[in-house]
């Protein structure tokens, strides 16, 4: 199945019990993009870690949004929550960031208009060559 330039949106309650759904979606999308098993598992763990960070800065009852953007074999995952002024995101030198930056090709975090977001890009670079 060829997919390109598609966007998948998922919103779940900001509760760790729902992370499994996001992990599964992540794996399903990455698998269809011909990512290797290594890349699929890495991305799953990255999404998990990013969501855990976000859950720490929001309040129960909030909504966790996850946006998957697929373009030219690149998967861009953006997870976000409304911040409740509970706490800032972990500093860039923290272990959690180390985990994220190891697992994804690019990671950026932003807090704009009381919305904390983490965006990860995975290119699936180690798989077989893909048609452009």
């Amino acid at each position: 199945m060829a997919i390109d330039h598609d966007v998948v949106l998922l919103c779940v309650p900001a509760n760790s019990a729902y992370l499994a759904i996001l992990r599964t979606a992540t794996a399903g999308i990455a698998a269809r993009l011909q990512f290797t098993l290594d890349e699929i598992e890495d991305l799953r763990i990255a999404v998990d870690e990013a969501c855990a960070m976000l859950l720490a800065v929001t309040l129960p009852g909030a909504e966790l949004s996850c946006r998957f953007e697929i373009a030219k074999g690149v998967l861009r995952v953006r997870v976000s929550v409304p911040t409740a002024g509970v706490a800032p995101l972990p500093p860039a030198q923290s272990f959690a960031w180390r985990v994220l930056t190891t697992l994804a090709a690019e990671v950026t975090a932003t807090t704009v208009d009381e919305l904390a977001a983490i965006e990860m890009v995975s290119r699936g670079a180690s798989g077989p060559p893909r048609l452009a």
């Binding site: 499994a20 992990r23 599964t24 399903g28 698998a31 098993l37 998990d48 855990a52 923290s94 272990f95």
Partner: protein
Amino acid sequence: MTANIVDQQSILEERRLADRDATDLLRTLAALPDQHPSREAMRQQAIEAWLPLAQHLAHRFSGRGEPVDDLIQTATVGLIKAVDKFDPERGVEFAAYAVPTIVGEIKRHFRDHTWDVRVPRRLQELRLVISEAAGTLAQQLGRSPTVADLAGYLKLTEEEVIEGLEGARAYHAVSLQTPAPTGDRGTELGDLLGTEDSDLELAELRVALAPALATLGEREQRILTMRFYGNMTQSQIAERIGISQMHVSRLLARALATLRGELTEASLDA
């Protein structure tokens, strides 16, 4: 038939001799002071001498949906614990002491790792087939396989492979109801995930991470270090350690979840 019996007897005889050597080793080991320079080498030797026992016990639990390699690994952990804690002064045979320790370790493995979600037998089998094929293909291709690679190799559709991978995960989903490793007062893992650890400064984090890492098993620590500080891929780690890539992934996810809980608690104590 006769030849078989003779064979069996000579094997048993060999085994008996080996057992005696192994018992002697343990006695010598126990007599050595803790800091003795040859202690580590001797401990290694004792462990290796008793490996057949661990392997034998591991095989007794095979065919229940866990890869034999993983079972042997777990049994070996049990064996190492037994070797380290064995006291020959108590007059108990090592085997009599080690068997329950090893079996206990294997049973714990089953309790920790077996299906959280009831997964149909077909999917359990599919998971094993995929895990094996992933290893074979990684060798052949020189890289981790894609779902399409797996589907082609196994003559399945990509959908079926994805389904199998999902089944594999249900099998090891970290249950949020598992008691947190250090938690008392009935704290569950879910309660500890991702609370305030955000304003820890780097230095504090380093300090906090060390004891947290220490709460992980030796193998999990190694895997975590290889992945996040050695920049090795899951497949490379799998090959180095001698377990499947899917198992590496499972251990990584669990180690990170444990660490999140640990760091949280450390920061709450501060």
